[in-house]
């Protein structure tokens, strides 16, 4: 496919060259996709953060371009635009609908098992204090690993499956990388009686066969694709585009064209809301720092979003450094990526000099996404969020450490967040309150870790 380079100016910034190959411009006649030029209304990245947040909040109240500063947007073929707009309208309707909210709340409580605990990790806390002359932070773990299906993915999958039903659709399509989102979607569809097709790359199916089995048992059809997650994602969007009005596309990550990032974040933000309430109960105020692993960013946004306006709360994202940031084999999008358009949104992404997407690597398969949520890109650029990374080895060490000290086996993805505690704790004052998001349980990773350790 031919590549064309654009260089477009706006009021303030020259944006980097973004290769056309990265856009889904399949239906466009020319290489200049008119929808690419819907780049008005960038917003002002240097404006006051509170105002920006208010702007984003306002934007969600009417069909909009879905921008977070300069990030986000709807870089999609024309055919999808009206679908996305319709989705946004329904999304706003359900947010205001007390019946939907009550049904969702009951399902979250009785089916998913919310609220998840905020657990004081006594031995982990003691471990870090012992290394620092008895001084160190108090570590609390937000237990998303206890949610039905063993990860935070369910919060979003359930809510969106309910939206699909409300829209009168009977079929759902989704893409999954590690499989967690696929399992959650299959589960929600089974509960609601919707037919479910999950696209997963053949390579990923090999890496996480247990998740494939779970989806099959739950009655979903698992369709293999070539390549990796980005290809599965593209395929599922293509199928959706071909069957608009029949099929619901269930986004699992806070990426993609508006309104997907906003919807996913909204449904995941229950994590942060609970955390605020539980923190107030347990120690009377907000946390000092919140730590979460970052793949595409849904669990991180889920816990961060509530605290974005509280400047005293440090928001710390930990990405996958794979074999190391210099190895070229990692998934540290915010650390090493550049801005571009991917899967319908402008965000940071891992691309080479020719603008081709780099294949990411991490032992935590759920972190192997070459892009990242546009909202996180915005939080990075505005300096509201800090981001670091952890290597495969550091993640496996953390996996074992948390299992041995607390009897909790964290998912390898979540282990990246725990790994960062090694560097973070010595820098924090005694008694600082940290909340670490344990986004999933690690039973699924036992084989991987066992193999890794035997090497």
């Amino acid at each position: 496919m031919e590549t064309h380079h654009f260089h477009f100016k706006t009021r303030r910034h020259n944006y980097p060259q973004v290769v056309c190959a990265n856009h889904r411009v399949t239906t466009s006649k020319s290489n200049v996709n008119p929808s690419v030029l819907r780049l008005h209304n960038y917003g002002n990245p240097t404006a006051d953060l509170a105002k920006e947040r208010a702007v984003s909040a306002d934007e969600t109240k009417r069909p909009s371009t879905g921008k977070f500063g300069r990030f986000g947007g709807k870089f999609v073929p024309e055919t999808l635009i009206s679908c996305l707009e319709q989705l946004e309208v329904v999304f706003h309707q359900v947010l205001q609908d007390p019946e939907f909210q009550e049904e969702l709340s009951t399902a979250l409580n009785d089916y998913v098992g919310r609220e998840t605990p905020l657990y004081y990790a006594e031995r982990l806390t003691a471990h870090y204090k012992a290394q620092n002359m008895g001084r160190g932070p108090d570590i609390y773990i937000k237990r998303e690993d206890l949610a039905h299906c063993g990860a935070h993915k369910m919060n979003n999958a359930l809510a969106q499956a309910m939206i699909a039903k409300r829209m009168g659709l009977t079929a759902v399509v989704a893409a999954t990388g590690a499989g967690q989102h696929g399992v959650a979607t299959a589960s929600a569809c089974a509960k609601l009686g919707l037919s479910c097709t999950i696209f997963m790359s053949a390579a990923d199916m090999e890496k996480q066969p247990s998740n494939v089995d779970l989806m099959t048992l739950l009655g979903a059809k698992v369709e293999p694709t070539a390549g990796n997650f980005k290809d599965a994602s593209s395929e599922s969007i293509r199928v959706w585009a071909g069957k608009l009005g029949e099929v619901y596309y269930l986004a699992g990550a806070a990426v993609g064209p508006h309104p997907c990032p906003t919807m996913v974040r909204e449904f995941q933000s229950v994590i942060g809301r609970e955390t605020r309430r539980q923190a107030a109960e347990k120690w009377g105020r907000t946390p000092d720092a919140v730590v979460a692993c970052v793949g595409s960013g849904s669990n991180a946004l889920g816990i961060f979003h509530e605290f974005v306006g509280d400047r005293t709360v440090r928001l710390i994202g930990v990405e996958a450094a794979g074999f190391g940031l210099n190895s070229g084999r990692h998934a540290a999008t915010l650390a090493a990526g550049e801005v571009g358009v991917y899967h319908g949104a402008m965000s940071y992404l891992l691309q080479d000099e020719e603008g081709n997407i780099i294949c990411p690597h991490s032992i935590g398969v759920g972190l192997e996404y070459p892009g990242v949520a546009p909202e996180l890109s915005f939080l990075k650029e505005s300096g509201r969020m800090e981001f670091y990374s952890a290597t495969d080895k550091e993640a496996v060490d953390a996996y074992i450490r948390v299992a041995r000290l607390e009897g909790i086996i964290p998912a390898l993805e979540a282990s990246h967040g725990f790994a960062y505690l090694e560097k973070l704790c010595p820098t924090l004052p005694d008694g600082a309150k940290i909340v670490v998001s344990c986004s999933g349980r690690g039973d699924k990773d036992a084989t991987t870790v066992s193999k890794y350790l035997s090497l």
Partner: protein, 480 residues
């Protein structure tokens, strides 16, 4: 009569015990034993307060096996008045403490410690906090809409089915309720070493989990054959810091692992606490394990009241050793209008000889320290049970279940491997909940139960564990 009076003084219930099976020797009321000799080292008043009207001191200790106890009719019919257990740890004739002398002291010490924490507000607060923040209680009582629809009859009538979601607990099964309680008890006793037996690995993982949480040394005994079948659970236990010791004796399965664990305990009783995984074993284990699990039924009562303003009509649970069933049933045993239904494993079928339907096909005997129903051949050797679900693959059953069965308070049925697998798939596809194969036995029984229930009957089924661990097995057998 002096002897009988003395017996009554130490413990009112000894007058009603059939002393047929263990030391003490049979006594007749005319012998001249002193009250000191009659005191078998029992702790004072561990029995529940009895409200027997007109306490008749009739000492009915005999030489005959299983002689009927003289019982006044009005005591027998009210479950609230049953001794569950009595001071000897008996549920009627079941239960007891059939163990070597060396363990008697440890069991007594354990019982005292347990009784002291029962009413200790600090202990209960600590336990409650851990169950909430670490285990994730309380677990939801979930209305299974599509399952209810599935059983709706053509005229629109049918029962309402609720699932008690023990599968949402940390480690994915109800086992952890007991493991947490016992490890806190062990800490209180100053023990630093914990041992346990495990079949499929669930109880082993739960034990290893709580030992990691509280920093105690952990040794798990597992049959060598089971270790091969459950390699992943072995890895999890080791990951959590436990030592997994393979047992090669006998058939190298759960019953052999249990025997080995008991042997270890006899040797190391001073330093070691044995976390038994079910409501089996010698007193006080059946009672203790039940008490730690009864939170399940207590929550259910409260949630039922919230949801429909009443009690459940029917409780259904799978029965292997019987802990999840006792956990759900316990709070409702005294409510005679609540039906209690236990479902065992019929394996390849009751006539195949390859099953684990202890209460249906077993006979009374002693296994692992307790008198109960068990699967034994004509020579009294334990029959190797079979079930597709390892957790139900136990040739015995908790003595309290044997008691409830004989009293007619609870009903017990069984379900084959095939029926359980069908239920596994059915519930996965209808509710998006993958139940453990053990739990699937209870779910399978709904097929037979629901058509018989009047419209609007409230059924609560204990979803005792999640089925991620059984996915490989199920896919293989279901040929999906």
């Amino acid at each position: 009569m002096a002897i009988a009076a003395a017996a009554a003084a130490t413990s009112p219930t000894t007058a009603r015990t059939t002393a047929t099976l263990s030391p003490p020797p049979p006594i007749s009321s005319s012998s001249s034993y002193s009250s000191a000799q009659l005191n078998f080292g029992l702790p004072k008043s561990t029995a529940r307060p009895r409200t027997t009207a007109g306490l008749s001191i009739s000492c009915t200790m005999t030489r005959d096996a299983a002689a009927a106890v003289a019982v006044t009719e009005k005591d027998d019919s009210d479950p609230a008045l049953w001794s569950r257990p009595d001071a000897f740890g008996r549920f009627g004739k079941f239960g007891g403490k059939y163990v070597p002398e060396t363990l008697m002291y440890a069991l007594t010490e354990l019982e005292s410690a347990f009784n002291s924490i029962r009413n200790d507000p600090d202990f209960q607060a600590e336990l409650g906090g851990i169950l909430k923040d670490y285990v994730g209680r309380e677990t939801p009582l979930y209305f299974a809409e599509r399952l209810t629809d599935h059983y709706r009859r053509p005229n629109g009538e049918g029962p309402h089915i609720y699932l008690k979601r023990e599968d949402l607990n940390h480690t994915g099964a109800h086992k952890i309720n007991n493991a947490i309680g016992q490890v806190l008890l062990a800490k209180r006793l100053g023990k630093k070493r914990i041992i346990a037996e495990t079949g499929a690995g669930q109880h082993g993982v739960a034990t290893a989990t709580v030992c990691a949480r509280f920093g105690l040394e952990c040794i798990i005994y597992m049959g060598a054959q089971d270790m091969e079948r459950q390699a992943l659970n072995v890895f999890r236990m080791r990951l959590l810091g436990a030592e997994v010791r393979g047992v090669h004796s006998g058939t190298a399965t759960l019953k052999d692992a249990t025997s080995e664990a008991i042997r270890d305990w006899v040797t190391n009783v001073e330093s070691t606490h044995y976390i038994l995984g079910s409501v089996a074993g010698p007193h006080p284990y059946p009672m203790m394990v039940r008490e730690f699990h009864k939170v399940i039924g207590e929550e259910t009562r409260r949630q039922a009241m919230e949801k429909w303003g009443g009690k459940p009509d029917v409780l259904v649970a799978c029965v292997g050793g019987g802990s999840n069933a006792m956990g759900l049933f316990e709070d409702f045993v005294k409510d005679k209008d609540v039906r209690l239904i236990g479902v065992e494993a019929a394996g390849f079928g009751l006539d195949s000889g390859k099953h684990a339907a202890t209460l249906t096909k077993g006979e009374v005997g002693v296994l692992h320290g307790a008198m109960s129903y068990l699967l034994q051949d004509d020579d009294g050797q334990i029959i190797e049970p079979h079930s597709i679900s390892a957790g139900l693959d136990y040739p015995g059953v908790g003595p309290e279940h044997s008691f409830l069965k004989d009293k007619g308070r609870a009903e017990y049925y069984c379900v084959t491997d095939e029926e359980a697998l069908e239920a596994f798939k059915r519930v996965s596809r209808l509710e998006g909940i993958i139940p453990a194969l053990e739990t699937s036995h209870a779910l399978a029984y709904l097929e037979k139960l629901c058509p018989t229930l009047p419209d609007g009957t409230k059924v609560v089924l204990n979803c005792s564990g999640r089925g991620d661990k059984d996915v490989q097995t199920a896919i293989k057998y279901l040929k999906l």
